[in-house]
Amino acid sequence: MIEVKHLRKKFGRKTVLQDISFTAEKGEITCLIGINGVGKTTILNAIMALTPIQGGQILIDGERVSKRTFEKVAFIPDAITMLPQMRIKDAIAFMADYYHCWNQKRADEMLNFFGLKVEERIANLSKGNTAKVNLLLGLALDVDYILMDEPFSGIDIFSREQITDVFTSHLIEDRGVVITTHEIQDIEHLIDKAVLLDDGEVKMAFNVEEIRETEGKSVVDMMRQVYQR
């Protein structure tokens, strides 16, 4: 389980995250929802120790973040994090070289599924294909948790569909996923848990299925309730 407890984060004098607490379990898709600038990416960066925090605690299966965390949690940022001059095969070789948990079989399967050519240079890929390579580099790691930052931002509808298909496939099954988005429509039907963020706080966290069954409300209904108050 990923536990974020009373997370506080400032940029200079500006407090971005005041008191953020939530958990993300294995086998569930947890979605961090909020408008741009609310601190969703900062939370993911903080989980991966890519930005310092001013308070609170982050635990992955009860342990603080260390180098071992990176064999347990994969982060897929909103932009690809490989050198532009690399070919797809170089990026794959790089990952296989450094990560014990790299699963080449899964990488090959995804290359096939997305129709990507390993000889292509990352710099020459379309936005959609870059997003797919980015996804591949994260999902081909045999990790328990995956963090995804705005995986649908700025890509075409067909790429979106292909990426959405990944969420319902065995590539995600049994893993814990934390995903951020400000466009919930694309993935509303996929998520298990929603965490609504505003003013640096968690305004509401709920189980999507439970809310649907008990109150007959969708995620968008709950968002209206929180954001249009």
Binding site: N45, P52, Y98
Partner: protein
Amino acid sequence: MKSYLKLVNFEINRFLKLYVALAAFTVIVQTAVVIIHARSYLATAKDAVTKDMIPRETFLSDYGPMSIVRAMDGWFQLPIAICIAVLLIYCFMIWYRDWFGKNTFIYRLLMLPTNRIHIYLAKATAIFFMVLGLVSLELLLLPAESKLVELMVPIDYREDYSLNGIMEAFGDLNILFPKTITEFLIHYGIGLMMVFILFTSILIERCYRLKGILYGGIYFAFALVIFLLPNIVLIFAHTNYLYPVEMFFVELLLGILVTAMSIGLSHYLLNKKIRV
């Protein structure tokens, strides 16, 4: 350890194209300068001896003999100066390109399942190897260029130098070519320490951004003052309290201290303060 070595290899490969270009530039320019000098000398000698009927001995006493040292003018040293400048700039680029490149590769580096200090050590090692590589190239090139002079100029008109003699002719750049193991350890040890101090200052800037420029500058100055403390005391006290050998050991100790401080601080920054 394995990850560290892989990272060193990766960092060297990233710079390889420019590095090979630098090496090729050095070889081409220096060889060309030697050839131009030798030909011009031969032409002058030919004119003097055959046209003006000046005796060879008189010509040699007026003009001096041709040698590799004669060819080592500003143009000859230019590639070395360019290599030094490029490597100095690369000390900054090796970090900043990971933040400011088209794709922010620093995310990937910081998320590798290895101690983050390996990234820092690998970058420093890569710079160190690149310096050693270029110096080694020059050490191979000098005897080859000397041989070239031997092939072009008849023995009566030239003076041959040993490698040590050639290196002496470099003047201030002589520091690049230590003659003893102790000199090598001092010159390159100080060089490596300076790289560590600079890398730590860069990391301070990357962690604290605008304020970090100031903090990084202060750290750089602070580390230098610690290292140079015995010399600073010497300047102000006007008396040398230490024998040269004692001075050497104090400097050695301070050098180790400053290097350890830089690595320790960078370890802390990379784990607790770094921002992508």
